[in-house]
Amino acid sequence: MTALAVAAASLRRMLRDRTALFFVVLLPVLVIAIIGTVVHNPGGFRIGVLAGQAAGPALATSLVDDLGAAGPVEFQTDEQAARTALRRGELDAVVLVPVDLEATLLRGDDVVIPVLAGGAESTQSAVRSAVSAAVARHAERVQAAAFAARRTNSSVAEQLPRATALQRVTPRISVSTENVASGSDYLPLGFGYSAPTMLVLFVFINALAGGATVVQTRQLGIYSRALAAPVRARDLVFGETLSYLTFALLQSALIIGTGSLLFGVSWGNLPAAIALVVTWALVGTGAGMLSGAVFKTPDQASAIGPVVGIAFAMLGGCMWPLEIVPETVRTVGHATPHAWAVDAWITLLSRAGGLADIATDLAVLAGFAAGMLGLAAVLLRRRLSS
């Protein structure tokens, strides 16, 4: 009963702190919105084309239309602007359609189209291949028109509409892509990526930073005074733990609720998701209590807590997928509870897993929670009794 009273009092104090509410309510939603918007599938490569060229002769215009198959085409004012956008990574490639493209092709001559590919080395070859494929599709009908022109003693310009119309109806050798993956090792893109990772990040960080209130209560001597009453140290520690757990669960519920309602995130198998959220709230509680027991001043807890929380989130795959990092970094990452929680979310959201599939992750997380809670309880009780 005493523990419940302590929990209620602590919780009221947390909820009254308006600054904390910014970090618990507003910030996670904003971060989920921004990261979810940036980490999305743009539907191909962003191709830059000079605006003047696109509005020029018919063959240049139709080439730009074909380039749309490689990804969204963005018009640039001039070559300098296009090169700058490419350098900054705002475009994946710039296609410099030659000014004399139409005249040369209509004469029956060949044209070489310069392509500047940007992005990381990993995307450069991919973007060049995609542009080549789009240009080749355009070249098919130009070749056909030129061939027909030679065979019938007419002009390329006369045959071009015919070739274009026929290209639409002639059966072609297609190349189709088939997804053979039984599941993914990554979270879904967009909000399906940002919401679960930020749930993991914020519950943990806010709990860690919240350790400051325990330190402050300790510093102010409130615990010592409470102990003068017929209250056991065990009840105080248990009460604080309960308030942290409730707080972590409230924060999780808020992120899950806004994720579903605002961003349309699906959270997978319900019992498994609930088990994961509750276990993660326990991990957060353990971290918060441990920070309350270990740090000497509230400033230390609120300054070092978030740094530790961000570092763990980076190592544990909340900031980028652990699939892309070298093996050693991935192994080191699994020393943080975050990696296990993110693994479990991947199993739930990208492989339609259930409770049994995340049993190992849950067991490891429960181990983390028990370890931190146990250690915090021992340390706090020692500090309170001494």
């Binding site: 600054t19 910014f22 971060v31 921004i34 990261i35 918007t37 940036v38 599938n41 080439l63 090169r83 350098r87 900054r88 990574g89 705002e90 296609v95 060949d110 044209v111 070489v112 189209i113 392509v115 940007g118 992005g119 990381a120 080395e121 990993s122 070859s125 991919a126 060049r128 291949s129 995609a130 542009v131 080549s132 494929a133 599709r137 098919e140 070749q143 056909a144 030129a146 061939f147 027909a148 022109a149 019938t152 045959q159 015919r162 002639t170 059966p171 072609r172 050798i173 190349v175 189709s176 892509t177 088939e178 053979v180 993956a181 993914s184 090792d185 400033d299 230390q300 300054a303 570092a311």
Partner: protein
């Protein structure tokens, strides 16, 4: 001026004695930059392993395989011959190869007939680039076949008698697509993860100092230190100047040390020293102005903490310190330029990718302009509050 220097030196000593300021200003940024450059070290190179299934064994299938193993493609992809589509699918699913390419039985024969058979790329959403490259390379190859087919059809439609179809088919065999692409060098350095996130993380940790400085100001006010100082023949301006100077020096030292360490240890590109220093100095001036604004609008330590954190996170989120802003939609990129840190990151991105040193001039001036505006606002609010 001397008084201001003494106060600045005292403030700096005080701050450096606090271990959390050392952690936030000097250790954390280096650690985070290290983590990021290690994490992304394997992402910046690309090579696709493709499982190749030839169920056709015809002439065109063999030619396609030869094209895929050509020297110009050897940097981009490697081909591994696999017995069956199931086997290739399993390799793709297990992540042992990036994608698969299946040539169906009868492909070569059908390619010249009326009902051609398509190729299939086996992909996985975990390796979208590999599947995209496999599809694009196959597309580029079949484009010549499709062009030849279309050429025959167009010639027939243009009036060549149907009896000469065989002759046309023979004639198109020697044709080449009239348009091809040529890769041109971009003439700039690639922006690496370390080069973007080193300044991004450095600025993030420096912005956290807004809260610290504002907090210490109100702590001193509460403790009566400021009142006692004002009893001495020191103007309020001298105190504020001293405190601003301390915050400025802390920020410059933090960013400079990160620039040196991350350049040497993780090959982060901060550009030539002079323009990089200009951006660091401008950003530090903006930090001072923002701190002054927080002090001007707050009344207590707790208020200062809260307002500082909100301003800091709003700037970090909008400015692109958490995400690679170039990948963001246009609207977010425009919003980033409403923040001093967004401009600083643009300047550092330009310098890192090898733009001229003058590229830092506009960002530095814009940041200084923003600092002046914010400082002015802080001054007006401060005076108004003092008067009321």
């Amino acid at each position: 001026m001397n008084t201001a220097l003494v106060i600045a030196a005292k403030d700096l000593r005080h701050r450096l004695r606090d271990r959390s300021a050392i952690v936030l200003g000097f250790i954390a940024p280096v650690l985070v930059a290290a983590l990021m450059s290690f994490a992304f070290s394997s992402v910046e190179a690309f090579h696709a392993d493709i499982a190749f299934v030839d169920n056709d064994h015809g002439q065109i299938a063999v030619a396609l395989r030869t094209a895929l193993t050509s020297r110009e493609l050897s940097d981009v992809l490697s081909i591994e011959s696999v017995g069956s589509e199931q086997q290739a699918g399993k390799l793709v699913d297990d992540g042992d190869v990036g994608a698969g390419l299946v040539i169906p039985a009868g492909f070569s024969a059908a390619a010249v007939g009326d009902e051609p058979v398509g190729l299939t790329v086996l992909g996985s959403p975990d390796n979208p680039l590999e599947a995209q490259v496999a599809k694009a390379v196959a597309d580029a190859y079949v484009a010549q076949l499709n062009a030849d087919r279309l050429s025959v059809h167009t010639a027939l439609a243009a009036g060549v008698p149907a009896g000469r179809t065989a002759e046309l088919a023979k004639a198109v065999a020697g044709l080449r697509l009239p348009e091809s692409v040529e890769a041109r060098a971009t003439g700039y350095r690639q922006l690496t993860t370390a080069s973007y996130y080193a300044p991004a993380m450095g600025i993030m940790f420096v912005l956290f100092a807004i809260g610290f400085t504002a907090h210490s100001f109100f702590a001193e006010q509460r403790g009566g230190t400021l009142e006692r100082i004002s009893a001495a023949p020191i103007g309020r301006g001298g105190v504020l100047l001293g405190k601003s100077l301390a915050a400025f020096v802390y920020s410059v030292a933090s960013l400079t040390s990160l620039a040196v360490v991350s350049s040497l240890a993780f090959d982060a590109q901060w550009g030539p020293p002079l323009p990089a220093a200009a951006l660091i100095l401008a950003m530090s001036a903006a930090l001072v102005a923002l701190t002054a604004l927080v002090i001007a609008v707050s009344r207590t330590e707790r208020q200062a903490d809260g307002i500082a954190m909100m301003i800091t996170f709003a700037l970090l989120l909008l400015g692109g310190n958490f995400v690679l802003i170039s990948q963001a939609p246009d609207l977010l990129r425009k919003l980033a330029l409403l923040t001093p840190n967004g401009w600083a990151l643009r300047g550092f991105t330009d310098l890192a990718t090898g733009a001229a040193a003058t590229a830092a001039l506009a960002p530095a001036l814009v940041i200084l302009g923003m600092a002046a505006l914010v400082g002015l606002l802080a001054g007006v609010i401060g005076r108004w509050r003092a008067a009321s």
